[in-house]
């Protein structure tokens, strides 16, 4: 036997559907309007190359192995395609020269490492 349910309504969503017709869109019309990013957004990793001491802790803490630090050549490089924006390197950096910046990196046609020259101060 089907249980009798007294509180059954027909067209229960009609009012909200009509209301939605006259509401402004919930979405932002990007790219015509700029996207707004919150302060903590983990968009991409940024390096202040002047402060980097090339300790390699970021390279060791990086789960996908996207960061490479070469003390001999004085190069800090990151493969943006491998990076998962986990912020692990930022937390590991003793000099606080790494930070997560808002906004995503641009799409590329080829996988390439982004290289930064580090350890210039020590050479002088």
């Amino acid at each position: 036997m089907e249980e009798v349910k007294p509180d059954v309504r027909a067209l229960a969503f009609a009012r909200q559907a009509l209301k939605n017709l006259f509401m402004k869109p919930a979405t932002t019309s990007y790219p015509f309007e700029p996207a707004s990013y919150p302060e903590r957004m983990r968009g991409h990793v940024e390096l202040v190359a002047e402060d980097c001491i090339g300790c390699g802790l970021c390279m060791r803490s990086c789960p996908p192995g996207a960061i490479r630090v070469d003390r001999q050549e004085g190069i800090w490089s990151i493969n943006r395609f491998d990076c998962v924006q986990c912020e692990s390197c930022v937390n590991a950096c003793p000099k606080k020269c790494l930070k997560m910046a808002a906004g995503y990196t641009q799409p590329e046609t080829e996988k390439a490492e982004e290289r930064f020259e580090i350890l210039k101060k020590q050479e002088k």
Partner: protein, 359 residues
């Protein structure tokens, strides 16, 4: 006598982009049996625990699933912390609880939207997902990510929430509760929704227990069981009772999930009121030695995390049993007797996440 035939269903099917395959045994249009098979998107994430150290593995554990990522990170961290005998600060436990409950709201709203879409109720689907955006924005503001939060670490959490953030969450939750009201009314009381869901895919209480159903699937069949009652994280301090359905049909499962959103709102508010001040993490020294079996309640149901450490920084074994793994046998059971046209909707009512299941 009805003609018996086998119809392959999936891995590409009209429900949602989760590759599950079923061989449906039909008598005319009625399903008399179903043979499930998975294995299309195995990623070998458990094996990676041998190559990544136990602190790095948190980032892999939370990538097991895109919807319950915070819960997976938390479950892994809690199991490792218990192996190592680490007691994390209370504030960290509260922060984890708030984020996990926000994940539950996000997961259930996503599922309700998918259900509305499967019923052909497009405007309701849009409304659910519009509302879900608000909670995703709060994730973005508090953790820096919309889906993958990367806030859990062994020993606590990596990010704190200041008073302004907690107030913003509370205001968002209050506003969402008001906006959820027409959605709730539609799912619970609308005639066309009831016509589509009532009496469909009935899973009896006995069968739910026998087949090992978990989460809203189990509670929809009238079993009062919720892993959160064990009191892990901050749940021991919070006032909650499992939301239970009665009929065990698709409608009951929908109702349980819809009511759980309101329950999560209440838990978030209570946690914000009770959150203590203090540190958010403790330093972790040494490596895990021993094993632990951790259970937590994910939005889809009970998830199990088994961790075995050998005293080095690489764990011996990490085993994760996701809720969908447990819900596949009851799904096969409830499919028996239904019509072929109802199969997509019934598969959806278990809230399948095959990517989690295969890890």
């Amino acid at each position: 006598m009805a003609k018996r035939s086998i119809v392959p269903f999936g891995p590409q099917h009209p429900v949602l982009p989760e590759p599950v395959h079923l061989d449906l045994v039909l008598e005319d249009e009625t399903v008399v049996g179903a043979i499930p098979s998975i294995g299309f998107i195995h990623r070998g994430l458990e094996k990676l625990v041998e190559k990544k150290d136990f602190k790095q593995y948190v980032y892999i554990a939370e990538r097991v699933c895109g919807i319950c990522s915070c819960g997976h990170g938390m479950g892994y961290c809690e199991s490792v912390e218990r192996v190592m005998g680490i007691e994390i600060p209370r504030r960290a436990e509260y922060l984890r609880t708030i984020w996990v409950e926000m994940s539950r709201v996000h997961s259930h709203l996503l599922w309700l939207g998918l259900l509305a879409d499967a019923m052909g109720f497009e405007s309701l689907f849009m409304e659910c997902w519009r509302l879900r955006e608000k909670i995703l924005d709060m994730f973005d503001r508090t953790t820096g990510g919309r889906i993958i939060f990367s806030v859990n670490c062994v020993g606590g959490v990596l990010k704190d929430m200041d008073g302004a953030m907690l107030r913003a969450i509370r205001e968002t939750v209050d506003q969402m509760e008001q906006e959820l009201e027409p959605i709730m009314t539609t799912f619970i009381k609308d005639y066309s929704v009831q016509l589509r869901l009532r009496g469909l895919g009935i899973l009896s209480r006995e069968q739910a227990i026998l087949q090992g159903a978990v989460g809203p699937m189990l509670r929809g069949s009238g079993v009062e069981y919720d892993t959160r009652m064990l009191g892990y994280a901050a749940y021991g301090d919070l006032d909650m009772e499992p939301i239970v359905g009665t009929d065990g049909d698709a409608y009951a499962r929908c109702e349980v999930r819809a009511r759980e959103i309101v329950q999560s709102f209440n838990l978030i508010r209570e946690a914000i009121d009770k959150i203590p001040q203090g540190p958010i993490s403790v330093p972790v020294k040494g490596n895990p030695q021993g094993e632990y079996f951790m259970r937590i309640e994910q939005p889809r149901g009970e998830a199990i995390y088994y961790t075995k450490g050998n005293g080095t920084k690489f764990l011996d074994r990490f085993r994760l049993r996701t809720p969908t793994t447990s819900n596949i046998p009851p799904m096969v059971e409830m499919l028996k007797g239904c019509q072929l046209g109802d199969v997509p909707l019934l598969i959806l009512t278990i809230d399948p996440c095959i990517s989690c299941t295969e890890r």
